[in-house]
């Protein structure tokens, strides 16, 4: 009997009772991808996606993709990390990096949201809606309540996190009770949040900003000073980096701890890998589905709070409708293979891309920002596509196995 039956071989040894093929869950696939590919494959996937993006640039605009990417890179501020950069260039880079990190913060959180759900075998496509709900709750708590600084911030954050958790919890509850597929329910909840928030702050909406001259401004009230997150790097008046950055890092740690050091995390992972075995083992599957969705939504809601309390300070219809943070979180989670470290770097990558392609940072003479933003979307799509296919990984994995097999004979059971 050879040791270690490879998953690709036909199950000669184990005939299945019903003729259903054992399909690994998304949690299992991404875990396999992580094990097999390590750090290399996400890097390669990203590089390949950028490469294809470069071809698109070349073919459609005739511009040199390398200069385009260079221009984008300059806008990200990542060159601040290079010690040889100094002087005025360094100051600009610092400002840019602050902006990049500002965008990275919510991306880390929405990425964690999607990743946590994936770990339980669930697709949370509703990060955007949960983010919106969190943002709306933060605005309400921030603008309509008056207390001292610390309790106000804490209150707003807690309210936003709970709101996001509840919003995702609806989908989780539906999954747990009637087995409704979370992809459909979360997508529906996205749009419900989208339109409800638009209505709330729209012209004539119940939470529209009040006061003379504001009648045709579809926006919310501004949060009070006591609810704003303090800035620790850069100038508060120029949108410096707020302490939400540490909250996001903290969230990464919490994510890891929950999954690997708590019984809740064990249950979530078990259900994610094999709900049948979990059931037989006495683990309450439905309850884990609900909890996983709720925690997932909590992360996304927290993301909304970070943005509102950190730099937006109010919500308006346009920004609600244009926001894609929740969706980019999907790409972040997939590229990061559902791991805390992976999510951090993916979020950084996409945050950098978003900042580098923004209208303020990209020189239109080199490349049009709106085009660049859509290019980012294409790159995102490619990343998600390639990650979903594990192509590269399977190839590397089979290479590795060939090498291993030559080095070692098979032993008996």
């Amino acid at each position: 009997m050879t040791e270690g039956q490879p998953p690709e071989a036909p199950p000669e040894e184990v005939p299945a009772p019903e003729d259903t093929q054992y399909t690994p869950s998304i949690a299992a696939r991404l875990a396999f991808a992580q094990r097999a590919g390590g750090v290399i494959t996400p890097l390669l996937t990203a590089v390949f996606a950028f490469f294809v993006g470069g071809i698109v640039v070349l073919v459609t605009t005739g511009k040199n993709p390398l200069t385009t990417y260079r221009a984008i890179f300059d806008g990200t501020g990542l060159n601040w990390l290079f010690p040889w950069v100094s002087g005025a260039e360094r100051t600009t880079a610092a400002l840019n990096l602050q902006q990049t990190l500002l965008l990275t913060v919510p991306l880390i959180l929405t990425g964690l949201a999607v990743a946590f759900a994936f770990r339980c075998g669930l697709f949370n496509i509703g990060g955007q809606g949960q983010y919106t709900v969190g943002a709306v709750s933060a605005v309400i708590a921030g603008a309509y309540v008056s207390t001292a600084h610390l309790p106000h911030v804490v209150l707003a954050i807690v309210v936003a996190t709970l709101a996001g958790a509840a919003w995702a919890g609806i989908a989780g509850l539906l999954k747990a009770t009637v087995g409704a597929h979370e992809v459909i329910t979360t997508i529906m909840l996205n749009w419900i949040a989208f339109w409800t928030a638009s209505w709330l702050f729209g012209i004539g909406g119940p939470l529209q900003v009040s006061g003379a001259g504001n009648e045709s401004v579809p926006a919310s009230e501004t949060v009070k000073e006591t609810a704003k997150l303090p800035v620790f790097w850069g100038d508060p008046f120029l949108q410096g980096l707020h302490i939400g950055f540490f909250v996001a890092i903290g969230a990464l740690v919490v994510y890891w701890i929950i999954l690997n050091r708590t019984t809740l995390g064990y249950g979530v992972r078990a259900v994610g890998f094999n709900p049948d075995a979990a059931r037989y083992g006495g683990i309450p599957v439905a309850r884990n589905y609900f909890l996983a969705m709720a925690i997932s939504g909590g992360f996304a809601g927290l993301a909304g709070a970070m943005d509102v309390l950190g730099w937006e300070f109010r919500l308006d219809q346009t920004s609600i409708q244009a926001s894609q943070i929740g969706f980019i979180g999907i790409a972040v989670a997939l590229l990061g293979r559902n791991s805390a470290v992976g999510v951090f770097f993916s979020a950084l990558l996409f945050g950098a891309l978003l900042n580098g392609t923004s209208t303020t940072n990209l020189d239109p003479s080199i490349f049009r920002p709106e085009l660049a933003q859509n290019l980012t979307l294409i790159i995102q799509g490619l990343v998600v596509l390639f990650v979903g296919a594990d192509v590269l990984i399977l190839y590397l994995w089979s290479l590795r196995r060939k090498v291993r097999r030559q080095a070692r004979p098979a032993d008996a059971a």
Binding site: M1, T2, E3, G4, Q5, P6, P7, E8, A9, P10, E12, E13, V14, P15, A16, P17, E18, D19, Y22, P24, A27, A28, A31, F32, N260, R261, T262, T263, L264, G265, Y266, G267, R269, A270, F273, N274, D276, A277, A278, R279, Y280, G281, G282, I283, P284, R401, R405, A410, D411, A412, A413
Partner: protein, 509 residues
Amino acid sequence: MADEPILELRSITKRFPGIVANDGIDFDLRRGEAHALLGENGAGKSTLMNVVFGLYQPDEGEIRVKGEPAAMKSPRDAINHGIGMVHQHFMLVPVMTIAENIALANAPTHAGVLLDMDAAEKRVAELSRTFHFALDPRARIENITVGQQQRVEILKALDRNADILILDEPTAVLTPQEARELFAILETLKREGISIIFISHKLNEVLEIADRISVLRRGKLIETVPREGATEAGLARMMVGREVLLRVEKAPPEPGETLLEIDGLNVRDDRGLPAVRDVSLTVRAGEIVGIAGVDGNGQTELIDALSGLRRSESGRIVLAGRDITNRDARYVLDAGYGHVPEDRQRRGLVLDFSLAENIALHDYAEPPDSRFGWLFPGRLIARARRLLQEFDVRGGGPRTRAAALSGGNQQKVVLAREIGRDPRVLLAAQPTRGLDVGAIEFVHRRLVEERDEGRAILLVSLELEEILSLADRILVIYEGRIVGEFGPDVSEEELGIAMTGGGRETEAA
């Protein structure tokens, strides 16, 4: 009958990553004969036939049909050559009717565009009459019996004008009576000139129906023998390569207190129909009670109800003095229940977890593995290391992923976990399914050891041999009822009769 074989396999070799499933096999089939392909699980029988049927491509070797070389690139080629295959797991679409399933292959049409279901139904009725199949073309596959489904499969092949019929473990899902009906049908087919290949691991059946028997072992053909002169022991030796202990040696049981009591249990299946009817049984400490029966007679629902995974409508289950009726799985497990589920990869193990995590599957939420929700991985690993050693699990340590182990070792992990919790009552469902002989021996020996330790063991198996070998008392389940109780010396015939509902004896031997 022509002398030239109708089907010939020369030196067929088929490799998969890490395994040579077929190694230079020569095989031939004569016109109008029934040729059995015998071997244990993993010997390569199904692979060989899948090659013949075009589902796999051979790496080396040649296939000849009626004297001409034939390359089977897909089932279509095989069908065009007159080869039909009836798989062990039926290839029928459950929600469609018999006629629709037949029409899949070769649909009659109006003007080539629209389906002509009337013509399809007529064809089915016609064929059914010719071969005495008794099938209703309008019936949905999900609503007919397993025996009937098998006949539909055979009908499919005949509809495509097959003159070579391959049957893969055809009696695995049949009662002895249905098997007898099948053999009669095979005789009819032989008379009509159809040649049959018959895959099996059941020695007695093979001796009954086959004209010639080819034995495979670990991918190689050992020998092809005619039926005359072949014996069970001889064939078994060829299959396994050594003297096989067909029965486990065990001391007589010394039963103690009653640890499991099921009283008047009624359980419904997924469709809401009664699956377990008024079942009562007891299992005492220090005995193995086996439940024999054809698949689908309520065993699954009984096990689910016992394990806390399915509601029972009425009745009581008492385990070690505690009433566990309609309690959840957690409660039942805590009450002293151990469960070795029948599908270890689907229900027994989380393949992506490490062995340590798998072993902790039931108890991870309790001290010492965790406290107030905080997990201590070190303790999981330590406990796992102990158990893995005790159960001689090879192929990895506590941190190895379960998927990396072979089937036999995986089953040992499941046993280690369940027995390691010191259960009062242990349920083993199909514990040796898909295992090689060495692993089967281990499992059987271990179960007897645990019996001698004073546990109450309930064994549910579809393998009569296993039950006869291990059980101290044998109960037969048929259509949800316990229809007979026997001692270990009962004959297979008697069991077979009880399994089909005949002769309701209730006296233990």
